[in-house]
C-alpha cells in the first residue's frame, strides 16, 4: 500500500515537471531570417530589411516548383530603428513569430551606410549566439532594401540566391570577389585592416555580383570593377578559377584563357625608407576560346607568344590595380600590413600607427610564371 502511495506521489511530481520547458519554441513559430539588409534611415536611424522564410512555401522543394518561382516563399519586413537589437524588438511587434538567426545567409549593406562605416552596426551579430559564423557580408550599389525585392527565378529566396552566387560561382569566376564572412570581418575590424566586399547591383531585374566595394578601415571609399577584383585576388593569394580575356596579339585574334591553378607568394623588402612588395604569381591555364577558327594554337611559337601575353597582361593588371587603389583610395585591401607585421615585427611595433604613410610610398614588383597546359579539343 505504501509503495503505491509513493508511486502515485512520484507520478504527480513528474506531471508537474512535464508541464513545460522554458525554452520550447515550436519550429513553425520561428521566423527564420535569411537575409538582413542595412540602409541608412533618417536622423541616425537604420533602415533594416529582414527577409524571412515562410516555411510552408519553402517546403515545395527547390527543383519541382511549377513555375511559381519564389513569389510567396519569403516575406520582407522593413523596420526603422537605432540598432539591430532595437529593430529586432520592433520586428517582434510586426510578426507573430520569434526571430531566429540560425539560417541567416547574407547581410547586405547599402551604399550610403557603408560610406559612413559598418563597424558600429554589426556588433550585435558577433555577440548573438544564434548567428552563424559563415554568414556572408556584401555591399550593394544603392539601397539594400531594393536588392531583397528582387525575386530570383531559380532559387526560392534572394538571400539564398546571393549566397550561392558568392559561394559556388565565386570559386569559378574571377569577376566575383571572394566572400567575406562574419569571422573574417571581425578579424579585419579588430586589426583595423582594409578589405574588399563583393558588390551587388540590380541589373535588368536581376542581381549582378561582379566587382567589389573597397573599404578603408570600415568605410566604403570606392568601387572596383571585375578586372580589378581578379588582380586583388592574385595579390592576396586567394584561389580563383575563371576566364581572362587577353589583349590581342600582334595581328592575331582575341584569345580567352581559363585559369585552373594559381598561387602567389608575397614578400616585403625594406629599401630606401619604403617597402617593395615582391609578388611572384604562378598560373596554370587552359585555352578556352579563340575568335578565329583557322588559327592554329598548338604550335611552339604561338604558345610562347600566348604565354608571354598572359605574363604581360597579368603583370600590368596587378600593377595598375595596385597603384590605382594606393593612389586614389590610399587603402590596403591586400593585407600587406600583415606581411609587414610578420616579416618586420620590430618595424611594425614602432611604425604600425603610421603605416598609411609608408603604404602610399610602397611599390610592387610583380613576377609572373604562367603556363599553358591544354588547348581544348581542336588545334
Amino acid at each position: 500500500m505504501q509503495k503505491v502511495t509513493i508511486l502515485i506521489a512520484i507520478m504527480l511530481i513528474v506531471i508537474l515537471l512535464l508541464s513545460g520547458c522554458w525554452d520550447r519554441i515550436e519550429i513553425e513559430k520561428n521566423a527564420f531570417i535569411l537575409g538582413i539588409g542595412l540602409d541608412k534611415g533618417d536622423d541616425d536611424m537604420l533602415n533594416v530589411t529582414y527577409q524571412i522564410a515562410l516555411p510552408d512555401a519553402m517546403k515545395g522543394g527547390g527543383e519541382g516548383g511549377e513555375g511559381d518561382g519564389g513569389e510567396t516563399s519569403t516575406l520582407n519586413i522593413n523596420i526603422y530603428g537605432k540598432t539591430l537589437k532595437e529593430t529586432e524588438q520592433i520586428l517582434r511587434a510586426n510578426i507573430d513569430r520569434y526571430p531566429n538567426y540560425e539560417h541567416l545567409k547574407v547581410i547586405v549593406f547599402g551604399e550610403e551606410l557603408s560610406r559612413e562605416g559598418l563597424a558600429e552596426h554589426i556588433d550585435f551579430l558577433f555577440r548573438n549566439p544564434q548567428s552563424r559564423r559563415l554568414t556572408k557580408v556584401v555591399v550593394c550599389e544603392g539601397e539594400a532594401k531594393q536588392i531583397f525585392e528582387i525575386q530570383p527565378k531559380t532559387t526560392k529566396s534572394t538571400a539564398q540566391y546571393i549566397n550561392s552566387l558568392l559561394e559556388d560561382n565565386g570559386r569559378y569566376s574571377i569577376q566575383i570577389a571572394s566572400f567575406v564572412d562574419l569571422t573574417t570581418l571581425e578579424n579585419k575590424f579588430l586589426q583595423n585592416d582594409d578589405f574588399i566586399l563583393a558588390k551587388l547591383k540590380i541589373k535588368d531585374d536581376n542581381i549582378d555580383a561582379q566587382g567589389a566595394g573597397i573599404f578603408k578601415s570600415d568605410r566604403l571609399v570606392g568601387w572596383l570593377d571585375s578586372r580589378d577584383v581578379a588582380a586583388v585576388k592574385w595579390l592576396k593569394d586567394e584561389i580563383e578559377q575563371g576566364t581572362l580575356d587577353l589583349s590581342p596579339l600582334d595581328g592575331h585574334p582575341y584569345i580567352t584563357i581559363q585559369i585552373i591553378y594559381n598561387s602567389s607568394k608575397i614578400k616585403p623588402i625594406f629599401k630606401d625608407h619604403g617597402f617593395i612588395f615582391d609578388v611572384s604569381i604562378q598560373l596554370e591555364y587552359d585555352l578556352s576560346e579563340v575568335s578565329k577558327l583557322d588559327y592554329i594554337v598548338l604550335d611552339e611559337k604561338t604558345i610562347g607568344e600566348i604565354e608571354q601575353t598572359v605574363i604581360n597582361d597579368v603583370k600590368e593588371l596587378c600593377e595598375q590595380t595596385f597603384y590605382t587603389i594606393r593612389d586614389i583610395y590610399g587603402a590596403d585591401p591586400f593585407a600587406f600590413s600583415n606581411k609587414i607585421s610578420n616579416y618586420y615585427p620590430l618595424f611594425w611595433a614602432e611604425n604600425g600607427d603610421v603605416w598609411d604613410d609608408y603604404f602610399v610610398r610602397s611599390q610592387i614588383a610583380v613576377e609572373v610564371d604562367a603556363h599553358l597546359r591544354r588547348v581544348g579539343l581542336v588545334k
Partner: protein
C-alpha cells in the same frame, strides 16, 4: 577497507584521468592561451604539458609507496596528523571550489547559448543531481561512464580540429618569438591550470590492482589531453588569428560554428559538438565531485563517502552560484587554478620530505 568490487582496469584508469582533465576548459583554453602567450602559445602548451607530466610522475612515485591509501591519508603519515590534516583540508576545499566553478561555467554556457529562458539554478541542479547519482554508485560506475563517453568525446574533438583546416593560415603565427622566448614562458602557469585534474591518480590508486600498469596508463591519460589541447589551440589560432581568438569568449565553439561541411549533415556542427561537450563536462564534474567526497570522508577517518556527496552537493551549488557575472567566474576559475598549482608545489615539497625521512631511516 575499499570495496573489492571497485577495481579498475588499465583503460579505465586512462579514461578517468582523461575525463578529469578534458572538460569545460576545452571551450576556453584557446582564449586563455592567446591572452597569455599569443602566437607563442604553440610551444607554451606542450611545455606546460611536459611540466604536468613531471608532476604526475612524482605523484605516481609517492603513490606507489602507499598502494592502499589515498593522498589525504598518506599525507598525514608523512607530515604528521596536524599539518597533514591542514593540507588535506586545503585539497578538499580546492576540489569543491573547482567542482562549483565547473558546474557554473557549464550552466552559463548552456544558458547563454541554448536555453536562454531556463533559470541558471535549474540547469545547475539538474546537472549536479545527475552527477551525484553517478558518484553514489562508486568509482566503478564513474570509471565506466568515463570509459564510454571519453572515446566519443575525443573523436568529436578531433573532427572539430580537422574539419575547419581548410581555413588554416600559417601566417597567423608569424612572427613567432618576436619578443624572445620570455612571453612564451610567462604564460606557462596560466596554461598549466588547464591540465590540472591529473591529481585524480592520487585518489584512485587503491582501486588499481597490482597487475595494473598504473604508471603507463595514467601518463597516457595525461598525454592525450596535452596533444588534443595543443592541436586545438594550433587550429583555432591558425584560423582566427590571435586577435579574434582572444576577443572571443568561447573560441572552440566559434570554430565549431565555422565548420561548413558539404551537405546538410554538419551544417550545425556546433550543436553536435555541444552535445558531446555536455558529456565531457559531466564526467569532469563527476570526477571532481567524487574526489572531494572521498577526500572529506577520509579526512574525517570515515570509510563511507556517500553521505558526504549529499552534504557537498549544496556546497558545490553555492560556490557555483556565488560569482555575480561571467567575468567573475573566469577570474575565480583562474585563481582556483593557481591554488591548484600551489597544492601541486606543496605536494612536491611533501615528496621531498618523504625522501629525506626515508633516507634518514
Amino acid at each position: 577497507m575499499y570495496n573489492t568490487e571497485d577495481k579498475l582496469t588499465n583503460t579505465q584508469i586512462m579514461f578517468v584521468v582523461i575525463s578529469s582533465i578534458f572538460g569545460v576548459t576545452g571551450l576556453l583554453l584557446p582564449r586563455s592561451a592567446a591572452e597569455a602567450a599569443g602566437a607563442d602559445s604553440l610551444i607554451t602548451i606542450p611545455i606546460a604539458g611536459l611540466i604536468s607530466l613531471i608532476f604526475l610522475n612524482i605523484m605516481l612515485k609517492l603513490n606507489s609507496n602507499y598502494p592502499d591509501k589515498i593522498i589525504v591519508e598518506y599525507v598525514q603519515d608523512i607530515l604528521g596528523s596536524f599539518l597533514g590534516k591542514i593540507y588535506s583540508f586545503a585539497i578538499t576545499l580546492y576540489l569543491v571550489l573547482v567542482a562549483g566553478t565547473i558546474l557554473r561555467i557549464f550552466a552559463d554556457v548552456i544558458k547563454g547559448l541554448m536555453l536562454p529562458q531556463t533559470p541558471l539554478e535549474v540547469i545547475m541542479i539538474t546537472m549536479l543531481f545527475t552527477s551525484m547519482y553517478l558518484i553514489m554508485n562508486g568509482i566503478s560506475s564513474l570509471s565506466k561512464v568515463c570509459e564510454i563517453f571519453m572515446p566519443i568525446i575525443i573523436i568529436v574533438s578531433l573532427i572539430l580540429i580537422f574539419l575547419p583546416l581548410k581555413h588554416f593560415n600559417i601566417e597567423e603565427f608569424y612572427p613567432m618569438f618576436s619578443n624572445g622566448i620570455k612571453p612564451a614562458l610567462i604564460g606557462i602557469p596560466k596554461i598549466f591550470t588547464a591540465f590540472l585534474g591529473f591529481e585524480i591518480v592520487a585518489f584512485i590508486t587503491p582501486f588499481a590492482s597490482e597487475d595494473n600498469n598504473i604508471w603507463r596508463y595514467s601518463m597516457l591519460g595525461l598525454l592525450i589531453p596535452v596533444c588534443i589541447y595543443t592541436l586545438l589551440v594550433f587550429t583555432v589560432i591558425g584560423i582566427f588569428g590571435v586577435n579574434t581568438t582572444s576577443f572571443s569568449i568561447y573560441p572552440t565553439l566559434e570554430i565549431a560554428r565555422y565548420i561548413n561541411f558539404p551537405g546538410a549533415f554538419a551544417e550545425r556542427f556546433d550543436i553536435f559538438f555541444m552535445l558531446f561537450w555536455v558529456l565531457a563536462s559531466f564526467s569532469t564534474l563527476s570526477c571532481y565531485f567524487y574526489m572531494s567526497s572521498l577526500s572529506i570522508a577520509k579526512l574525517l577517518d570515515l570509510n563511507y563517502y556517500r553521505p558526504f556527496a549529499v552534504v557537498l552537493a549544496p556546497l558545490i551549488f553555492l560556490f557555483g552560484i556565488f560569482p555575480a557575472n561571467l567575468q567573475k567566474v573566469f577570474t575565480y576559475f583562474q585563481y582556483i587554478g593557481y591554488v591548484g598549482i600551489g597544492i601541486i608545489i606543496v605536494y612536491v615539497i611533501i615528496y621531498a620530505i618523504y625522501m629525506i625521512k626515508k633516507g634518514g631511516n
